[in-house]
Each structure stands twice: as structure tokens, then as C-alpha cells.
């Protein structure tokens, strides 16, 4: 086992594309997880306060611990106080909140001055960097949960079809075929047109429409393995169907699943941003990469930063997960590993 890990690691460190992919995935995962701390109008730490306004030492921490007080805390304009030198404070790298609108800053170009918008602002004066970072949270959440849901459904249906065979297989295969006939984007759009879109409905809809590929692969794997000697041996010891499926066959079929997971997350992130771009994704004030691109469509000539930055984010995440999937396929497949 240790030998195997070492071999995989060696292959991995030789593959520059895979290495960069992992770095990008981890970077975006970190940004997604830490967005509320990295992009907020509330300062991390107030060092000295001569403004006469009462404030906690760490307004951001205070807001996180007491979510109800956030609105009151956010009424104070810390950036103004700081630039008038009434307080001295340490701000997050992006000192803006994603929902903060300010029509004075209509389509500000990127600027690196203190309290300028580092990646520009959109047509409502919202900071693009803050919205990108909080959008990362939404994209990653949708990707992970939608794919997780698709996996649960796909593995369940595929495993049952492949394991039991016969009429079960016939019925389930027919069901898979029926779902495949529906064009995914049209089906998702129709569902979102008829119910109210929210972050949760988008995750559920992407998950409910995205399981067919997994189910087909799982069915093939189970068909291949259910007659194997190790399954027969386990059955002779009196193992139940559930135990055979979950403990004996599934772990042996994990490799193609892991590879598919990486590709599917890329697909789900892309799908979520497409839906937001079309205006039926996460509802309005919620930040999303696709939503910023949609906003850019209204001002194509003046605001290049609205096109370039969110697009780059989507591209980086999608390409990273795709390369990760490609590398996993090579690393988990002994035949290809021997060849390379």
C-alpha cells in the first residue's frame, strides 16, 4: 500500500499539469471557505478608536459570532472613518461586502489605491472582487452538493441494475434511457421556470438531472463484478445483498467513480454559471460568477473587467477539475500507469 502511494505520488509530482490543477483547486476551495473573512466591509481589528463611536475590537469576529448584530455593525462606515484617520484598523484584503451598493462607484475601473476596487465595480457599484470571492462559495457549494446528490442516485440505480440483473435491470435501464432523452439544460430551465430558483433548488435540479452517466458506469461495473470469485466467497459466508453491494463490490468500483466526480464537478460549476448567466441561477443579490458576466453584457464596451475576471475564474476552476480528473484516470488505472 505504501509502495502504491509512493508510486502515485511520484507520478503526480512529475505531472506539472496535475500539480497546477491541485494548487488551483485548493486555492479556490480556500477562497470559497474563507470568503466571509477575506472580503468584508467590517475590519478585522480596530487598533485605536478616536471617533467617539462605540465599536467592538474586532467587528468582523463580532458579526460572525452574533449574526443578528451584523446589520447594526455594518451601518458604521469603517472605511470612511479610517480614511479620515478617526480610527486605525486592519481591514480584510478586500474591504468590501458583496451586497454593498454605491451608485457613486458606477463601473469603477480596477484601482489599487487604498479602499479602491481592486477588480473594479459593477453597475450598482458593488465590488467585483468581493462578489467573485463570495461567488466562489456558491459555485463550489453547488458543484459539491449537486454532484454528491447525482452520485447517490446514480450509484443506487446503477448498482441495483447491475447487481440484480433480469427484470430490475430491464426496468432501471429503461428509466435511465428515458432520462437521457431530455436535453439537460432545457430540462433544468423548464424546472427552474416552474419553481422558484434558489441555491438549494439549483443544487437539487442539477443533481437530479446529472446522474445518468454515473448510473451507466456503475451498472457496467456491477455486471462485470457480480459473478467474481470474491463476491461468491462473500455470499457463501452469508452476506446480505446490501452488504455485498456496499462492502464488497462498491469499493472495487471506486476508481471510475472518483474520476467521474472530478469531471462532474467541473460540469456542475459550468452549469451553475451558465444558469446564472441566463438569469435563472442563484436569485438576484446573491453573488455568482455567471451573474457578473450577465451584468457585463449590458456594458460590453466600457467594462472589460466585468468580462475578464469572472470568466477567468470559471475557466480556472473548470480546467483544474478537468485536469485533476484526467490525472486521476491515469493514476488509478494500473494499465495506463504502467504505460506512462
Amino acid at each position: 500500500m505504501r509502495n502504491f502511494v509512493r508510486k502515485v505520488f511520484k507520478l503526480y509530482s512529475n505531472d506539472k499539469a496535475a500539480f497546477s490543477a491541485i494548487v488551483i483547486v485548493l486555492l479556490f476551495a480556500f477562497i470559497a471557505a474563507a470568503a466571509p473573512i477575506l472580503a468584508s466591509k467590517l475590519p478585522w481589528l480596530v487598533i485605536s478608536n478616536n471617533s467617539g463611536i462605540e465599536m467592538p475590537t474586532s467587528p468582523l469576529l463580532h458579526a460572525i459570532i452574533h449574526p443578528r448584530k451584523r446589520i447594526i455593525l455594518e451601518r458604521t462606515d469603517y472605511r470612511k472613518l479610517a480614511s479620515e484617520e478617526k480610527i486605525s484598523a486592519i481591514f480584510p484584503p478586500v474591504p468590501f461586502s458583496p451586497y454593498e451598493t454605491n451608485l457613486d462607484n458606477f463601473l469603477d475601473a480596477p484601482s489599487f489605491s487604498r479602499f479602491g476596487h481592486p477588480l473594479g465595480s459593477d453597475s450598482l457599484g458593488r465590488d467585483v472582487a468581493a462578489r467573485l470571492m463570495h461567488g466562489a462559495t456558491n459555485s463550489m457549494l453547488v458543484g459539491l452538493i449537486a454532484v454528491g446528490l447525482a452520485f447517490i442516485i446514480g450509484v443506487l440505480i446503477g448498482a441495483m441494475a447491475g447487481y440484480f440483473g433480469g427484470w430490475t435491470d430491464l426496468a432501471l435501464s429503461r428509466f435511465i434511457e428515458i432520462v437521457i432523452c431530455f436535453p439537460t439544460l432545457i430540462l433544468i430551465m423548464a424546472v427552474l421556470a416552474l419553481i422558484k430558483p434558489s441555491l438549494v433548488t439549483i443544487m437539487v435540479v442539477i443533481g437530479l438531472t446529472g446522474w445518468t452517466g454515473i448510473a451507466r458506469v456503475m451498472r457496467g461495473e456491477f455486471l462485470k463484478r457480480r459473478g467474481g470469485d470474491f463476491v461468491l466467497a462473500a455470499r457463501l459466508t452469508g452476506a446480505s445483498h446490501v452488504r455485498l453491494i456496499l462492502k464488497h463490490i462498491l469499493p472495487n468500483s471506486l476508481a471510475p467513480l472518483i474520476v467521474m466526480a472530478a469531471f462532474d464537478i467541473a460540469g456542475a460549476v459550468l452549469l451553475e454559471s451558465s444558469l446564472s448567466f441566463l438569469g435563472i441561477g442563484v436569485p438576484a443579490p446573491e453573488p455568482s460568477w455567471g451573474d457578473i458576466l450577465k451584468n457585463s453584457q449590458e456594458y460590453p464596451d466600457i467594462a472589460w473587467w466585468l468580462v475578464v475576471f469572472p470568466g477567468t475564474c470559471i475557466f480556472l476552476v473548470v480546467v483544474a477539475f478537468n485536469f485533476l480528473g484526467d490525472w486521476l484516470r491515469k493514476a488509478l488505472n494500473p494499465r495506463e500507469r504502467a504505460a506512462s
Binding site: V191, A193, I314
Partner: protein
């Protein structure tokens, strides 16, 4: 016999498609209940009660579920999909109007994708493991990961409309003055309009297809009949291009089946960005206008067309490769 059997299997699939679509129509909450109208209070006012009945009938909530389901079947079998709620034109008419645009765009896309991917795949297979091969794979993966709507926006910004270079129109199917052009000018005009949409819709598919051809050709090259052909003393060129390539292209037919849903559904995003009046744009517009009959008809229509397309590819596949029997295609 196989064809008949395979065709009969469509019946349960069709029933399934219609049933799923039916439950889709039930997703919108009952508008009467949703508006908070109190039916009991309205009973006293006959005009209001009548209006309520009409409203329920309009949205299809006046009869029990099973009756509505039967009604949907009747509508499908008589090809009557009622009228659009926006312009009150028959839904079927709107669909048939939109379909040729989507089909033209997608058929050209598929042809170009195949024309470019097959040589790339063959090259990669013959130079397996070389620097150029891994370079091609890498580049195609990058292309595959570029979000098409982003590229569409960038292309429009820099190559259309005059901000940077004014090579292409901003969108649409043909120019306003298209009626005055002769046949060839018209074709040229449409090609000029479709250039950017087609560029955007092709580049993402190269990776998948060329990789598929590569592995399929590599497998063919390892098989016995190739060894026989080589042993006979045939030239390398003949062995590869006549014997191996021809057999490795057969699986491409099944790949067509995978492309079909997109073909009929239309690429919603591209049609929206380039304002091409196809199925995708129609779907998008109907969703914004809450035009339920059109939405449902598009879902149903594209699913049924896809089902027929998959059936057709199955038939072609059996004609090309007689080894495939019904039982085999079942255990695929």
C-alpha cells in the same frame, strides 16, 4: 425482426417521457391557491366564481390528475399543443418555425467537429506518446474547459460591432436586407452571421471526440486482422487507412446518439447571445414570459426527437456492424 423489437421498446420510453413531462407541468403551484383567493367566499359572487373556474381551466387545475394526464396524451396524439400564452399562436407552429435554425446550426457544427477531430485523433494515435501528441491533448483539454458563453462574449466584444475589429455582425440569422440578395449572396450572408456562433460551438467538442478516435484506432491497430494484413505484406499506409481506420470509425455512430440531445435542444446560451431564433432562444424567451405551453412542448418535443434519433443511430449501427444483435445492445 431486430428492428421491430427495437422499435417496440420505444413505447415504454415514450410513456416515460410523457409521464415525466406531465409531472413537470404540475410543478407550478396551483395559481388559484397561490394567489390566496378564497373559493368559498367567491362562490357568493357568481361573476367571480365563473372567473375562478376559467382561471382554473386555463392553468389546467380544474380536473383531477388522471383526467389531465389523459388529456395530455390526447393532445400529443392529435398533435394539438394549444396556444402560446404570449401571442396566442399555436405552439406547434412556433416550434416548427424555430427548429430549422437550430438544426442547421447544429448539423454544421457536428460536421465541422468530426472533420477536425478525426484527423487529430488519427495523428495522436499514430504518434502515441510523442511530444506533439501530448501537446495536442493538453491544448484540446484547455479548449474543452473554456466556458463557451464567456468566449462568445469576448469574441463579440473584440470581433463584432466595431469596438476593436468589426469583422462580424453582432448576431441574428441574416441581414435586414437579405430579401434583396440572390441565392448565393444569401448563403454568404448567413455564413457571415453564423461564423462566430459556430466557432464557439465547435471548439469544446474536439477533446472528447479526438480522444475517442485515438483510443479506438489504437485498439484496432492491436487486433488480429491488422497483424494478418501486415503479414500479407500490405503497405503501412494501406493497413492504417483502409483496414484499421474504417473499423475504428464505427463506434463514432454511437457517439452521434450522445450528441443528439444537444442537437435538438439547441444551445440555449449561444442562441441567446447571438440572437438566433432557434429552439434554445424560444425556450429562453418562453421561460422569461412564463409561457408554460411552449416550455412544456419544447421539453417534450426535444425529448421525443432525441429518442427517435437514438433509435436511428441504433439502426445505422446494426446495418454497419452486423455483429450487434439485440441482446448485445441490451447488455451494453
Amino acid at each position: 425482426m431486430y428492428f421491430l423489437k427495437r422499435s417496440l421498446w420505444m413505447i415504454p420510453t415514450l410513456i416515460g417521457i410523457v409521464t415525466i413531462t406531465f409531472f413537470l407541468t404540475r410543478l407550478r403551484p396551483d395559481p388559484v391557491a397561490q394567489k390566496g383567493l378564497n373559493p368559498d367566499a367567491m362562490q357568493e359572487n357568481s361573476a367571480a366564481a365563473q372567473h375562478l373556474e376559467q382561471l382554473k381551466e386555463y392553468y389546467g387545475y380544474d380536473k383531477p390528475l388522471i383526467v389531465q394526464y389523459g388529456k395530455m396524451w390526447k393532445n400529443i396524439l392529435t398533435l394539438d399543443f394549444s396556444n402560446s400564452r404570449i401571442d396566442h399562436r399555436p405552439v406547434l407552429e412556433k416550434l416548427i418555425e424555430a427548429l430549422p435554425y437550430t438544426l442547421t446550426l447544429n448539423i454544421i457544427t457536428v460536421i465541422i467537429v468530426y472533420l477536425i477531430s478525426i484527423p487529430l485523433g488519427v495523428y495522436s494515435a499514430l504518434h502515441d506518446g510523442s511530444k506533439t501528441d501530448s501537446m495536442i491533448t493538453f491544448l484540446l483539454y484547455l479548449l474543452y474547459s473554456l466556458p463557451s458563453f464567456w468566449i462568445a462574449l469576448l469574441l463579440l466584444k473584440y470581433f463584432a460591432g466595431g469596438d476593436f475589429l468589426n469583422f462580424f455582425p453582432l448576431g441574428g440569422w441574416q441581414s435586414d436586407y437579405a430579401d434583396d440578395l440572390n441565392f448565393f449572396q444569401k448563403i454568404g450572408d448567413i455564413a457571415w452571421h453564423l461564423f462566430l456562433p459556430i466557432v464557439v460551438s465547435v471548439y469544446g467538442s474536439f477533446a472528447f471526440l479526438s480522444r475517442f478516435i485515438k483510443s479506438s484506432l489504437l485498439e484496432a491497430l492491436r487486433s488480429e486482422y491488422i497483424r494478418t494484413a501486415k503479414a500479407k505484406g500490405l503497405s503501412q499506409r494501406r493497413v492504417i487507412y483502409v483496414h484499421a481506420l474504417r473499423n475504428s470509425l464505427i463506434p463514432l455512430i454511437t457517439l452521434m446518439a450522445g450528441l443528439l440531445p444537444g442537437l435538438f435542444g439547441g444551445s440555449v446560451i449561444l442562441e441567446q447571445i447571438f440572437s438566433i431564433p432557434g429552439m434554445g432562444k424560444l425556450a429562453y424567451d418562453s421561460i422569461y414570459a412564463n409561457d408554460d405551453p411552449v416550455i412544456i412542448a419544447i421539453v417534450l418535443f426535444s425529448a421525443i426527437l432525441t429518442m427517435l434519433g437514438i433509435l436511428l443511430t441504433d439502426f445505422v449501427y446494426t446495418l454497419v456492424d452486423p455483429r450487434i444483435s439485440f441482446s448485445e445492445s441490451e447488455s451494453k
